[in-house]
């Protein structure tokens, strides 16, 4: 497990709600790893400050697989709609520091609950969010690509790779494009607990008597697996069934736990919305 802390810099410093910020690599990486869709932004034309954004699947990893984290930091491996435009950018671009690769930002956000307070301005979500900044290159090495394909497949369902028809053939290897993001900075934010209203509203008996306040927990559920029209394996395999069950228990527990944690403390004088 990567146990370092990301340094704060101008690109990743959290300026609002600093008490909710984290630069802890395990927290940030676990968010990236457990979010089914990451949002990846980049600038298609370096002469024009217009961003693009794509949903992709990704996971943190360190190659080669037997590498120690002392040997380097984990990168973010991404798979998805790597358009020919994006592929070209990843092979021809440079970071502002002159490193080869396309500057990207990668975001993962989980909403754990709707936080309903006395007044709209103090409404919030319980959430966990992470943003990575880095430089994306195409994985060209065949061994690393194969390793990353397994990494990302097993991020969707653990052990899925070895329970399918593998290895990919030559055409499949060639058509698959994996982006590797060398992470140059990262930050995360976590908000949990009940609502937190301002003193001016907490003094209002009429408001307290009429407005329901609390948290609606929110989590993702995986349903009973539905076999395809050509599925011949009648029983849902153990690795899949237990994954569905464990994920469902974990996600529900996380959301419900977040709802009853202590709310963030409010400063006595407050001018920003929650």
């Amino acid at each position: 497990m990567d146990s370092h802390t990301y340094p704060k810099g101008p690109a990743n410093s959290v300026n609002r709600y600093k008490d909710r910020a984290t630069y802890d690599a395990p927290t940030i990486h676990s968010l990236i790893n457990s979010t089914p869709v990451l949002h990846v932004s980049f600038v298609p034309d370096p002469t024009t400050p217009v961003p693009a954004i794509l949903p992709m699947i990704g996971k943190m990893g360190l190659y080669p697989p037997n590498a120690d984290l002392d040997d380097g930091a984990e990168s973010c491996y991404l798979h998805g709609y790597v358009t020919s435009r994006l592929m070209k950018l990843a092979t021809t671009s440079h970071s502002p520091d002159g490193d080869p690769g396309l500057p990207v930002a990668v975001a993962a956000t989980k909403v754990d609950g709707l936080v309903l307070s006395l007044t709209p301005n103090s409404h919030s979500y319980n959430y966990r969010s992470a943003v990575l900044h880095g430089v994306a290159t195409l994985v060209e090495d065949v061994d690393e690509k194969l390793w990353a394909m397994e990494l990302i497949t097993d991020a969707v369902v653990p052990e899925r790779w070895k329970n399918t028809r593998v290895p990919p053939d030559g055409a499949e290897m060639q058509s698959t494009r994996i982006l590797k993001v060398r992470v140059t900075g990262a930050s995360g934010k976590v908000r949990e607990g009940g609502p937190n209203d301002e003193r001016k509203d907490m003094k209002r008996e009429d408001v307290l008597d009429s407005v329901w306040t609390g948290v609606v927990p929110r989590w993702e559920v995986l349903g009973e697996p539905v076999g395809s029209s050509y599925n011949r394996v009648e029983k849902v395999p153990e690795y899949l069934g237990s994954f569905v069950q464990e994920e469902n228990e974990r996600r529900e527990r996380e959301a419900k736990d977040a709802a009853v944690k202590q709310a963030p403390q409010k400063k006595s004088k407050k001018t920003e919305e929650d």
Copy 2:
């Protein structure tokens, strides 16, 4: 309901899996409106092609509220961590066309299921995704800001606004920052149905006999509302209770329906991953 179709242009054309693409405004807007967190990307320093990305809450809307869609197109109103950096950019930037405002891309993605096929390369998600391209400005007009605050609050829980302590006072109005994105282009993608394997794998009896294929439906659940430590309204109000129930029914139905729809057709010769 906005019934137009977004024109295709270089910024929003979907180049891969064209048959999954949509430019239909109601489809795209409904995805934006039902996604709890939108990811908003922009370029903080116009001289350096490095993107930033922020999670925000948003909803499509046309102001004034009595306007007809013939009077104009809906904009995307965003609320969230509008940092002072972002606020400054929104008030000082210009689009490449010279329009005032910050060029942004706004993404909404829903995962409706994990699509598990015979071989990793044909694995996919059932998903619905939308990306808006546009120009963001700060809402300065007090009436429009108040209207947008209600729009966005009620996007989290319908009717919540009027059931809280409103209107916001002067300090709250001043501290709240709403971004309005004038949409210049948009596109969406939808994938539904079971897995779709390639002919070469569908001929392999050993593979068909050993690999479970199908869809694991996936949806978001809202749990039983949890009252805050200072909540005095014992019964969960009707508008909240029925919202939780209806959302849960709708989301589960959507995910399960997507799992059993017809899978996208595969071309006979295929070199791209699904």
